[in-house]
Amino acid sequence: MSVLSKCREALLCLRAGRVTLPYPAQPRPTPPRFRGRPIFNAAKCIGCAGCANNCPAREILVVDLCQEIRVIQYLGRRCTFCGRCAEVCPEKAITMSRDFETATPQIRDLRQRLDLFMSTCQRCGRCFQAPSPLEQLKLKGYRFDDVEHERWIFRSKAFLDSDATVDDIPIELD
């Protein structure tokens, strides 16, 4: 009886097959909504520091090196990969990658550092987002009433497709 039950158990174990995944030899795909390491795209970043203000772990540091250069540094030590920075980024410069193979003997390997060229506020002297070309023109002394540079005025092509909405509600007046 005991030998029979052992044989049956052995058959069951043989039928179960092999479940061990060949992971380090072969790559393993992640689930579709998996959030891995955040990747910072410096070409899109405008340096608004919204990610640093919203990071629950306070892991994104913003330092103004001088009047023109702002440094955004992601240290990645205690990052919980919550995806909050990617959510609040107005320019979608941060994407949550599916990269989970981040084990490293040195913790500084996880660091990402962006040196951004910013403009300087004329009043307080701190960095702010670079002005648009129209604002740059104003900084150079251009004025809209300057007749010589009249073609720089942005003329609106929009038009009203109906008449003005005055008098469309009859109001009884005494």
Binding site: P24, A42, A57, R58, R78, L110, L114
Partner: protein, 178 residues
Amino acid sequence: MLKNLCQKMFGRSLWVYHANSGGCNGCDIEVLNVLTPYYDAERFGIRLVGSPRHADVMLCQGPALRATSPALRRAYDAMPAPKLVFAIGSCACGGGIWYDTYAVLGPVEMVVPVNFYIPGCPPRPEAILYGVAVAVGLVDRKVAPVQFKQVEFPIPQYHPADLRGDGELVVYEKAERV
């Protein structure tokens, strides 16, 4: 090469001791998941032992707390001399998101020297296996620090003097970036 690989895989069988110094138990579940038949960590000779005196590797989870850090230090001192410490999870790597509260001292490297960091909250079982494989020497590490420096002003600056043309077609002559 195969001999070298076998030597690396079987010659140094790592016995791990599992020390949680106050984490939320998420990393513990992932570490125990590594030991299941699906991610069979005993392929690499990894075996869970119950005492730090038998262990080669200490797996640290959770930050160094004010209450548990002396016990963590004693467990580290009790391990025999060639010893490794793996910090698993964002709490052990950097202190977790409650890194600045009164009970948390910080990452475990404030108490014991850490040899390998496996970030994640919690790290996947594959990430833990990958960290072990990096430590054993089976695979190479993939991450490196990234630095980006902007060298030129990103917005082109125009001047009215560079404007040519009339009417419909207007051409900026110098549109290069300044």
